[in-house]
Amino acid sequence: MLRFTIRRLLQVIPTIIAVVLLIFVIFSVVPGSFASSLMSDGRGGADADMVARINEQFGLDDPVHVRFFDYVTGLLQFDMGESFRFRQPVTEVIGDRIWASLKLSIAAMVFAIVVGVPLGFIAALKPGSILDSITMIGAVSGLSMPQFWLGLLLMYFFALILGWLPSFGYGGGDFKYLILPAITLGVTPLALLARTTRAGVLEITNEDFIRTAHSKGMSNSRVIRWHLTRNVMVLVVTTIGLQFGSMMGQAVVIEKLFSWPGIGTLLVDSVAIRDIPVVQGTILVIVLWFLFINTFVDIIYAAIDPRIKQT
């Protein structure tokens, strides 16, 4: 198991290297610069002299390969460079935000799993029934709405009309601030999980070993408990992993809408003002999160599915 884990972790390295290179290249050709973004508020803030000085200070005049080399050298020492705007190490800037993002992702995923999986199970037990149709159409509808639109609707309804929940912000970490963004973010994975679970149950129900179980004289509820659930979970775990892993990326819109102080908001703002070290760092963190979750899921997968070779 340990060897499997280590091997799986090592396999991620080439991907990380490629991602670092790709991000670096993309943002070295992006038009506009931090200096130019300073001027965009129309206050005539920076002049040409200042732009030159900023570029010099942050080493933006160096050739790309020199900057890339410096960047990678820094990364190897867990240094992602210094933010132009915050004038702080990027690791600190991200470190300040990452917990908010994690909190939101985990809450959304928990919501999606707790609601989505049972829903899928219920729908699959009577395929073609009214309940099944409603659940599935509901799931597709959930996937078909622009997330920010849904968030806005929830915000208006629960915050403004009912006044139950705060409409925005982090509130220093209170749980009630988490509810609306987490639900909004959780709708997509919820819908997908409900569908995957349903498909999984239907698929496993058709497997031969379920027929074997029936031929043993097992009751339906025992078949479900002894033979169906775990096999369905093996299928569902993949979806959970993919959704959970990509959640930080998907959270960008939600974070922005709810003014949630996560790295998604940080990323969008940093792109807008061309705070490139933060942009690169944030994307790298989002990618690492994805890879981490998926590696983790693979390991879990190997633990619950004996067919996966662990050597």
């Binding site: 091997r7 090592l10 396999q11 050597t311």
Partner: protein, 324 residues
């Protein structure tokens, strides 16, 4: 069987064929092992002959067939047609190779492109090989008739046919370019008993009519006995016994061959319990030799097989032995 088959230059010759597959992780060399699917096959096929390769799943018989067809790169060894090597640097191109040998596949459901009509499946190779458009329709109709179908069937898609009919189409496709060798990979094992007979009859008729040579891969000894001139018994990458069909079935010598034949469920045992081939004394290996392998459990497919050779124990009848 034609008696001159062994003396005339063979149509197809397989020399010391090895096919190994690397198994395991690419990054971690110590986990990597070589699966020796085929280790050192020598075979020849005469003109108009039907050579069968029998063995159980995983013995390397299909890999051998794929290597001959150019669908599997051999690790080492040579394959010659009329004395000319068809692998390596001087090998003929795919187009030339297509006219030498064609293959009939096991699964009639997977062997036809479901998105192409029968006519298109048959006409496309002709067009590719430069047959004038004016001739194509005739040749397609012709080949359909040869395999017992109607020219009208060309307009249909594969799913409109039964398994037996599909296998006929598969045979038609294999024959369309007029190859000299037909590689039959379990040609009837996926078919129902009644259809099986029709296809076997068809194949035998075609062999006669078109003077084809067959290499047949099979695990069904009944079919093998019925169709073959010579039989090669394969066991974990090696040939353990090779000989004329009558020698193999009348005097099976290698323990594995004997086991194989003995375990065929045979309806005739009901009628003739006395003819139970399971009885009888096991023949001795030739003097100074022992059978190789002696123990027919599960050999390690990852290790180099023990030194051994095919020893002739009768005219054209060889058994794998190692010096005692």
């Amino acid at each position: 069987m034609k008696d001159n088959a062994t003396t005339a230059p063979p149509l197809l010759e397989i020399r010391d064929l090895h096919v190994h597959f690397p198994v395991g992780n690419k990054l971690f060399a110590r986990n990597r092992r070589l699966l020796r699917a085929v280790s050192g096959i020598n075979l020849s096929l005469g003109h108009g002959e039907c050579l069968s390769i029998v063995g159980e799943s995983g013995c390397g018989k299909s890999t051998t067939a794929l290597a001959v067809m150019g669908l599997q790169e051999p690790t080492s060894g040579d394959i010659l047609v009329d004395g000319q090597s068809i692998i390596g640097d001087n090998a003929p191109g795919r187009m030339d190779r297509a006219r030498i040998a064609q293959m009939v596949f096991q699964d009639p459901y997977a062997s036809l492109n479901p998105r192409q009509t029968v006519h298109r499946s048959l006409a496309a190779p002709l067009r590719l090989h430069g047959t004038p458009n004016s001739e194509i329709d005739d040749r397609v109709a012709d080949i359909l008739k040869k395999v017992g179908l109607l020219p009208e069937h060309g307009a249909r898609f594969p799913h409109e046919f039964s398994g037996g009919q599909r296998q006929r189409i598969g045979i038609a496709r294999a024959l369309i370019l007029g190859p000299r060798i037909l590689m039959l990979d379990e040609p009837v094992s996926a078919l129902d008993v009644s259809v099986r007979a029709q296809i076997i009859n068809l194949l035998l008729d075609l062999q006669e009519d078109l003077s084809l040579s067959f290499v047949m891969i099979s695990h069904d000894l009944g079919v093998v006995e019925h169709m073959s001139d010579r039989v090669a018994v394969m066991y974990f990458g090696q040939i353990v016994e090779l000989g004329r069909w009558d020698a193999i079935f009348a005097r099976p010598t290698h323990p594995y061959t004997r086991k194989l034949i003995a375990t065929i469920p045979d309806p005739d045992t009901v009628l003739h319990p006395d003819r139970d081939r399971r009885a009888g004394k096991a023949p001795e290996p030739p003097a100074g030799y022992r059978f190789c392998p002696e123990d027919i459990g599960r050999p390690d497919v990852y290790s180099v097989p023990a030194e051994s050779a095919l020893i002739e124990i009768g005219p054209g009848h060889f058994v794998r032995c190692a010096t005692a």
